[in-house]
């Protein structure tokens, strides 16, 4: 088995463990490249159809291309899809830096979707190599009261045995892509011909490397117009993936504070 085969087999294993362990369970679809790969893997894991609801936490601030992509593939992939509105900005912790507050609407959206549907499991497409606090995550990551991430006391996870026995009031974030890298994602997209939003491809010398809300997400200079170009570009670059996500960089602990309080 090569590297991509191995990554795929591990993710499918995780998804099947999660579906068995948590009911009800749902998946978050951010409409970015990673969560497209995640849906692709879920269709493989569950023999063609994603057997649980798929939510987009909608701030109303996605790019128009992103909404168009969403509507097309929600139908094409026969997803049980719901757009879930995020609570307004006034509800977000006012002490967070400005752009992190915008992202904070997503944290509230996560809490709200978990509470509304009494979810036991929520599948999200984060990766360890994106951001140092995400590198410390577990595959099955429990969130107790108020959806807090207690990074001081994470449960142990040995080999491929994931604990799933949590009391009521706890939901578990499931991370089937934790072990993938950005280049892995694009190489898999190339191998499997997985559709992604057009904003990832360069137009007039600029493209988006990481997709988020309008206003806090910025394009990078790039001439990569195809998936192959992107793979070549990433293999040479030393720029970090989330450089265009301003919320990460406002203060040293901005991202950690977001994550502790429920952000993905």
């Amino acid at each position: 088995m090569n590297r991509l085969d191995h990554l795929e087999a591990q993710s499918i294993y995780i998804l099947r463990e999660a579906r068995h362990a948590f009911d009800p369970i749902a998946m978050l679809w951010s409409l970015g490249k990673d969560s497209n790969v995640m849906i692709w893997l879920a269709r493989k894991a569950f023999l063609g159809r994603v057997p649980f609801p798929v939510f987009h936490l909608d701030t109303g601030l996605e790019f128009p291309e992103v909404y168009a992509f969403r509507d097309r593939y929600a139908a094409e992939w026969r997803l049980d899809f719901t757009s879930f509105p995020c609570p307004p900005l006034e509800h977000v912790d006012p002490s967070l830096p400005k752009d992190a507050r915008l992202a904070g609407r997503k944290s509230l959206g996560v809490s709200s979707v978990v509470d509304t549907f009494r979810l036991r499991g929520l599948i999200a497409g984060i990766r360890r190599d994106e951001q140092p606090t995400r590198a410390k995550e577990r595959v099955f990551s429990p969130r107790g009261a108020a959806n807090i991430w207690d990074f001081r006391d994470q449960p142990p996870e040995f080999w491929d045995l994931f604990a799933s026995n949590y009391p009521f009031g706890t939901h578990v974030r499931v991370h089937p892509l934790l072990h993938w890298t950005e280049v892995d994602i694009w190489r898999y997209i190339a191998r499997e011909s997985i559709p992604v939003c057009s904003l990832y491809f360069a137009k007039e010398g600029r493209r988006f490397r990481s997709l988020g809300e309008i206003g806090i997400t910025h394009a990078i200079s790039s001439s990569a117009a195809t998936v192959a170009d992107i793979i070549a570009e990433l293999s040479a670059t030393t720029a970090p993936e989330r450089a265009g996500r301003s919320m990460d960089h406002e203060s040293e602990d901005a991202f950690e504070r977001l994550r502790t309080s429920g952000y993905l």
Partner: protein, 636 residues
Amino acid sequence: MMLPGPKSTDDQAIPIVIVGHVDHGKSTLIARLVHDAGGFTDGKVAELQAVSDRRGTDFEWSFLLDALQVERDQAITVDSTQVRFALQGRQYLIIDAPGHHEFIRNMLTGASQAVGAVLVVDATQGLAEQTKHHVMLLKFLGHKQIIVVINKMDLVGFDQAAFAALSVSVNNYCSTSGIAVAASVPVSARHGDGLFSQSDRLAWYVGPTVAESLAMFSISPAPVDRPVRFPVQDVYRHGDQRILVGRLDSGCMAIGDQVVLCPTGRTATITGFFDENGLSSRTDAKAGESVAIALDHELFVERGHVAASVAAPPSLATLLKARVVWLDAEPLKAGAEYILRVGTATHVVLVDSINRLFDFDHQVDQITDAVHQYAVAEISLRTRVPVPIDPADDGAVLSRAMLLSGHRVVGACLLQSGERRAVVSSNLTAVIQSVSRDERAARNGYRGAVIWFTGLSGAGKSTLAMALQRELFDRRVGVYVLDGDNVRHGLNHDLGFNEADRLENLRRVAEVARLFADAGLIVITAFIAPTVGIRTLAREIVGAEFHEVYVDADLATCEARDTKGLYAKARRGEIKDFTGISSVWEPPMASDLAVPTSHQSIADSLGLLVDYVERRVLGARKVYDFSHFDGIEETS
């Protein structure tokens, strides 16, 4: 400095864990390795400089990995983390493991993912407590050889004699522990000496650099030539067919191959593989792949079963010898009950004995009746049903296990051996019923099932059980309630109320409930069932048609109600072993339904129950349970 290799290759990244005592410089070593391999992203150095300035320290390499505020403020690694770098065409996944005693569980989490280990030892400190502890844990995890890095050589003036003396003592310690030292490398991680190239200050050293020594680790190829082990994760339906899904741990499976299902011992032939498009064109599968298979005839198979080579099946054991690393603050005790996860199976186990305790100083054969937090011991576990295992088989999925207690992961286990002790007469052979469950279900319109209530005394179990029985009966459903009154006076009149008898009482209730459900009835049980162990046992006995319902009222509410005056008596000491007062109550961890009776009316609670039973027990089983969505059928 060597140049970094390509960032992506077809090969898997090689996972290597860095271990050692707190403050011996693990995080610094990793950050410096990544930096010198060209693996820092733009702006990272400036970012770490700013973080260091803010804390008034010199440039601190370890902040690359110690990303949490608490880690930076206290200069300590709390949780394991991972970074990657490429070197000469190989990609390494470096796992940083905390060195602090308090975070052993995180060290194990990281180390269990690694194929190789680097032990970092501070040249000024030598073998410290966690150095030894980590060596013992690496041995436990099955590591056979390690690289030793003697760090902070700058602080001993790059002295050759100091290095030689220390590396001899570390080597001796490791080899006594059963681990070979493949290389001992002197370095100063902070200044970069000895990592990628020989440094002038270490000119006397002739061995490999850290980077060169990493090349000795590699990922073993998937064990395709070994017997088939396919632990079943789940059973999905595809039209009329039942599909077994899981990841093939070892061996190869092809269409036409016969497999034996363990522990049932039935055999069947693989007829096809399924994927996202239905029946797949795939004709075989190899170790490491996650697949979905169909068999030639319908066997009873469920999660936890293992499809295996007919010629070389796993052993079936009811008495397991295991090495355990104990993680819980509450010590492991002989006679205690835990939950064992092995492969995809879950079993209730009893600690039969604690055989010996291992310690850093290699003294074995200590007699003990308890294993304390972070100690390593050999224990014997007893199971109720035979468990398929591959003991003492390095890396085999059926040799690795996890112990749980209530909601907590309490131990990691490696199974050493197993034997089967007969529990029932071997003269009993299973008789196949002339009417199948499916036939009964087809005639009745629903399958027999057990709705197992659990909750404190006074939570409302009997009231709700009786009300639910009435509702279902009125809908022409065959239903029966088992409770203390109708069981204690007849079937279990020989049992008292001590712990063993209470367990036996519920074991019999579960067996009877299973028979009634087999006969096609919906059985409701109304017992406290206070522990996770008891409920897991009941679930094991009943099997797939088991539904756990948590009748959820907290102790204060139940005690305030105290309809039978029992809590008052228990408080006065007139009733011994009263659940919630003087005997343990473990709230359910994974109930299929929770009915919160403290803050809603009986009618509302009943509504929840009826709704659940209609959808999940009587109706076609839906994939999930969101009432406001249109349910989609299982994939077809």
